[in-house]
Assembly symmetry: C2
Homo-oligomer: 347 residues x 2
DNA sequence: GAATTTACCGGTAACGTTTCCGGTAACGTT
DNA sequence: AACGTTACCGGAAACGTTACCGGTAAATTC
């Protein structure tokens, strides 16, 4: 019960071989006789040996820990992304430290520091809504920790960081197109915070689609929900005082759309008869609402999977460069994931 | 750029003191001159020293990592619990490894193994819906890793594990009471999986409240949603074929209630006019639905906070016992958290 | 048949802390 | 004046693994 945990030394002693041989056997390195390897593995199993990740990490300067930073932990979308990340990384022996920035640059930066302290092998991050520069990411790169970004990113970053994203312009464009095809005349757009890049992109997609169909895009019809939550109310207020009310509203994302539908219900405005509503995200929840929400689905799980994939590539490339004594020159990569229109009752 | 990271030794050398002194200064131990301490801290700050958690962990046999296992990562309730956990544990220097069992005992057990391998300092877990025994938890305790349970637990476990829970019987009771007071006559209950303990408890609370008000609780009115999701449909079907349809339905939890409302809408049954709906959880989402969902709120964040608190206590007690050379005798503790009725439009 | 690989293994020094055991000097105490 | 305390610090051994270098014997090459 109390007995000390078996170590690599115990195995070495009992098999009368050296610890280095045991170590090699255990991590399936080359330069090892298959027979000895089997013996080691068997004994290890028998005496219930567990490798100390701590010691191994210290010696090899790896932690087998990957840090994941998301804006909010209660948002299902990010939960699904994480499932994708795990699917890829867990079989490889990595574990995740999941952190959330609370949509706040400062905490986001703290998260990075924390992960650096933890000596994680890699960082995956989706930027907070008010992150406007990426000095904190630079810090991580200076520590030679590979970073990848997913979903929320900075457009004009000079940092060579791979990202897995969707074409947000296209999302806005397609959504608007759908609304137009459905015959709605005055289509409004509720954006996110004005300086949030992916929000701008979706908005541009919206504008472009409108213009292409010869619709006016008067500034009236574009209102921001600056904090992605409470401010939806004031956004809607602005739309409802217009002499010409919109007959359809496209929201920057699903959560806003949910909130929006709620507010319309309160005003006893019929959806979609009087006003149609549409979101962008593809949250499963949308199916349960009444009416169910038409939306543009982002492949959340794939996004996690691919981001993890890219991270692994980068980690490998870095290791290879180091082994060969070369300097690793990181490059930016963009991977776009396909989006999909999900037509439901709200339009 | 490439320069080696500063270590405790560098500080020692530059200050011409020993590493042990530096170590003491850094972790604010006693037996240290405040002046030297300040000097060390200043230099550390200046040269950007970061302690290696790995090395510290190896030497002190601590990892400063806490494992958290939840059934599903996309459920907001658990996300909120995690926020509570972090609030307590982060200031203490602990980080979280968050794992999800996917409502599956086997993966749950794997998670435990993984956490043991990682040498976490503690484990916090909410049991999966089909966990019926806790041998895997026993394993963790044998490794002398403190465990606490929150929300979903096993009733008759002989393991001395502290738990932070709500009075599920009372939740069922109060919910039913509310429905009765509101004047509903035939109240149905959609349970979770039949052998899930907290589901049974809520059901008993329901039954008890019914009996107390002289209501019949015919078996017809109690139907299970065995997988907490899809099966809600068949559950509702069973209720709708009754000659005497219920005029109110209490769901085991909010997600089921959401699904339920959706299905009622599809059948064009008015909520709450024809059938009232009520949940138990207190998900924020409930507010956004139409009609908004009446529910019994569990204090999710507090639950995380208190569970973390209990874990810390246990870790400290264990350390103390070890320091004094005594055997630590763990005890079960139950901490009940208050629940609260949130009346909304669905009743 | 000598020279060169190849396959496998051992010894030892890291890795960056903490912990334990002493030791010294200054200060009180009687 | 001798002794015990107190406050502070240093040395060295862990902690459990990996990395590196070198060595031996067998296998391969010419």
């Amino acid at each position: 019960m109390k007995s000390r945990k078996p170590t690599i030394k115990d195995i070495a002693r009992r098999l009368d071989i050296s610890v280095s041989t045991v170590s090699r056997a255990l991590r399936n390195a080359d330069d090892i006789n298959p027979v000895t390897r089997r013996k080691v593995l068997e004994l290890a199993e028998k005496i219930g040996y567990k490798k100390s990740v701590l010691a191994a990490g210290l010696a090899s300067k790896k932690s087998y820990l990957i840090g994941v930073i998301i804006p909010e932990i209660t948002v299902p979308f990010f939960g699904t992304v994480i499932m994708g990340i795990e699917e890829f990384l867990k079989p490889l022996g990595y574990d995740l430290i999941i952190l959330h920035s609370d949509e706040n640059v400062t905490t986001e930066s703290d998260c990075i520091d924390l992960l650096i302290d933890r000596q994680v092998d890699g960082i995956m991050i989706s930027l907070s809504m008010n992150t406007k520069e990426d000095d904190h990411l630079k810090k991580a790169m200076e520590e030679e920790i590979p970073v990848v970004i997913f979903d929320r990113y900075l457009p004009d970053s000079i940092l060579p960081i791979p990202r897995v994203i969707i074409d947000d312009f296209d999302a806005g464009y397609q959504a608007t197109n759908h609304l137009i095809n459905k015959g709605y005349k005055r289509i409004a757009f509720i954006t996110g915070p004005v300086d949030m890049f992916i929000s701008q992109q979706r908005q541009e997609g919206y504008v472009r689609a409108m213009e292409r169909h010869g619709r006016s895009t008067s500034a009236d019809l574009i209102v921001p929900a600056t904090d992605l939550r409470r401010s939806v109310g004031t956004a809607l207020d602005k739309l409802m005082v217009l002499k010409n009310r919109p007959d359809a509203i496209l929201a920057f994302n699903d959560p806003i759309a949910f909130k929006l539908m709620r507010l319309l219900h309160k005003r006893e405005i019929k959806i979609p008869k009087e006003v149609a509503v549409m979101g962008i995200s593809g949250d499963d929840m949308g199916e349960l609402f009444y009416p169910s929400l038409t939306t543009i689905a982002q492949p959340a799980k794939d996004m996690g999977y691919w981001a993890a994939n890219l991270l692994k590539d980068r980690m490998d490339a870095m290791k290879k460069a180091k082994d060969e004594g070369k300097v690793f020159i990181p490059m930016s990569i963009q991977k776009f994931l396909p989006i999909q229109l999900i037509q439901r009752e709200s339009t």
